[in-house]
């Protein structure tokens, strides 16, 4: 009930909010979608993907190429971008998902660099100049689309917590050999999780591309964006249904506040917040909310004690 009310309030924002609020909302919601998408592969399957910004870029380029080069409608572009991301997730996932831990993280980190360099040499994608999309000046529409996408992503993650597939992913995260012994087809599960994660990132990228009406390789395959989604998911609580959403919305709000109050120091404070947050609440806001009530301030001391040398 509370949840439906929250969604209704969020959905009503375009009717009473200012333009600035709506624009902030689109950004924050899209970041929440990215964090939620990352949650599937990073939070549930336990594979710290730094490659989700590749899917985001593919989604952006899918929409841009479809609309600017082939004159297709926006929906067709979104589908094309999502299909690109899914195919790429399978092709790349099969070799790369064999790697574990840091190695997986870094192999995927390399992907974004490679893709940016490749795309800046493809004529269809406008080389390193980028592509300009037909403008559509309708922020409320983009806002509602973003919100819809976030609801879909969250429902998908909710489904993970109740389905055989989701349990399989959690088993992989906790002990991959064990999961395989219990009959989980780990390669299939990981690849599908990677693809789901990729499709949501691509859809967010597609909406963003049409909204800002311009993309270039630098911004489409930005590693910083990938780091952002990880920070937001971990800040909120990876491997939980609402953690990434709460993390993304609260961190977006914080960074917006900081940059309007003290412009030059905003980035600095963001870094400090990340460091402090990870040290005192390593399992994210979701865990703080759950356990702070019974443990009080001891909770933070306990976190430090259990992870220090």
């Amino acid at each position: 009930m509370l949840l439906l009310a929250a969604i209704a309030v969020l959905a009503a924002v375009p009717w009473f909010g200012s333009d600035v609020l709506i624009q902030f909302g689109i950004n924050a919601l899209l970041l929440a979608v990215l964090a939620q998408g990352w949650n599937v592969i990073g939070g549930y399957a336990g594979y710290a993907s730094f490659g989700n910004s590749v899917f985001y870029g593919l989604g952006s380029y899918g929409v841009a190429i479809a609309m600017a080069q082939w004159q297709l409608p926006f929906g067709g572009g979104l589908l094309f971008g999502a299909a690109l991301a899914a195919v790429f997730a399978v092709l790349i996932g099969i070799p790369v998902l064999r790697l574990r831990g840091h190695y997986f993280a870094i192999a995927t980190l390399a992907l974004a660099q490679v893709m940016a360099a490749i795309v800046s040499n493809v004529k269809l994608a406008g080389r390193n100049v980028g592509l300009v999309l037909p403008p559509l000046n309708n922020d409320p529409l983009f806002y509602e689309l973003s919100l819809l996408l976030l609801v879909l992503a969250t429902l998908t993650v909710y489904w993970l917590t109740r389905s055989r597939f989701g349990f399989g992913l959690i088993a992989i995260r906790e002990n991959e050999e064990g999961a395989a012994v219990m009959g989980v087809n780990t390669t299939l599960y990981k690849t599908v999780a990677f693809a789901i994660s990729g499709v949501f990132s691509a859809l967010a990228g597609g909406i963003h591309a049409y909204w800002v009406t311009f993309i270039d390789p630098e911004s489409a395959f930005d590693i910083g964006l990938n780091v952002k989604m990880i920070i937001m998911a971990v800040f909120g609580g990876p491997g939980t249904v609402f953690g990434p959403v709460v993390g993304a919305l609260s961190l977006s709000a914080l960074s917006e506040l900081l940059s309007s109050e003290i412009t030059s120091l905003a980035g600095l404070f963001f870094g400090v917040v990340v460091v402090v947050a990870v040290v005192v609440m390593p399992r994210g806001l979701a865990d703080v909310l759950r356990r702070f009530r019974c443990m009080g301030w001891r909770y933070f001391a306990e976190n430090i004690r259990s992870h220090q040398l």
Binding site: A105, I106, Q113, A117, I231, L268, V272, V275, V278, H307
Partner: protein, 287 residues
């Protein structure tokens, strides 16, 4: 043919510098199991330190390297002791995020303190070069290369021969057993991180003599250091030389034959290949 020889030599000289850049990252990663995303930012700080020493105190950038390294060691020791020791047993994401946070903080502080201008360390002999047949060897690059190799080899001997080096290797292999033999892990971890950052600082000083320093170079240098550590493997500092030379030569060759925009594609393509085919590095032991 002359061009090819020159390009190979340039790549090799660049590769030596790459090796020392990656050395500190590989050490911290191999021993503490922390992938230090702030490594490049520490290289950047070392570069600025060296620049200030040269510009305001007139200390030659190569002779001033020990001073830079000592200061950076103190910084690294403090960061590990005061902050990173608090989270070394947390999951991998958390150490990645904390070091990323440090990177952000250092970049912003550098931007505030040093402005976004490019800085280059230009001692008087920077334009000099030695001609070897048709191949030209710039003196400063040659010096940077020599020092890089010297540092890497001394690091190897240090880990192999000295008491502290043995303690570091023992900790990397088995923390509990090392503790039973009287290793104080908090101090040792901080020493290791300090050495890693000192090497980063020295690499920054060398980098400043052959290239330009600005507050934003950190992330790209971290990524390169990663690639080199993986290509070379984490077991052995000499692997880093192989990784560095390999990457330096590969980048120069791609720039010559395919185009400079592809040099990153080539290096990261090789990185992904090595990860898939030989995850312990070219020289590493079989997994």
């Amino acid at each position: 043919m002359d061009l090819l020889a020159q390009v190979l030599v340039n790549g090799m000289l660049l590769g030596g510098l790459y090796a020392v850049m990656a050395l500190g990252l590989a050490l911290v990663w191999g021993v503490l199991n922390i992938v230090n995303l702030a490594h490049g930012a520490f290289i950047m700080l070392g570069g600025y330190l060296s620049w200030y020493l040269y510009t305001y105190a007139g200390i030659d950038p190569f002779l001033g390297l020990p001073l830079t390294a000592v200061v950076m060691f103190a910084v690294g020791y403090g960061v590990q002791r005061g902050l990173l020791n608090l989270i070394v047993r947390a999951p991998m994401f958390n150490t990645l995020l904390v070091t990323f946070g440090i990177e952000v903080v250092l970049t912003y502080l550098a931007q505030l303190a040093f402005s976004a201008d490019f800085r280059t360390i230009n001692p008087s002999y920077v334009g000099d070069s030695i001609a070897l047949g048709t191949v030209v060897l710039p003196v400063s690059r040659l010096l940077a290369f020599g020092i890089a190799i010297l540092l890497t080899v001394s690091m190897w001997l240090f880990l192999l021969r000295t008491r502290l080096g043995r303690a570091i290797r023992a900790t990397a292999q088995n923390l509990v057993a090392a503790r039973l033999y009287g290793v104080e892990p908090r101090h040792l971890y901080a020493m290791t991180f300090g050495i890693g950052i000192a090497l980063a600082g020295a690499a920054g000083g060398l980098y400043g003599t052959v290239s330009q320093i600005n507050p934003y170079i950190g992330a790209a240098l971290t990524a390169k250091s990663f690639a080199i550590s993986i290509i070379g493997g984490l077991d052995n500092p000499l692997g880093v030389i192989v990784g560095g030379l390999f990457l330096g030569i590969l980048e120069s060759l791609t720039a010559l034959y395919i185009g400079s925009t592809f040099s990153d594609v080539a290096s990261f393509g090789v990185l992904v290949l090595v990860l898939i085919v030989r995850p312990t590095g070219l020289l590493g032991k079989a997994a």
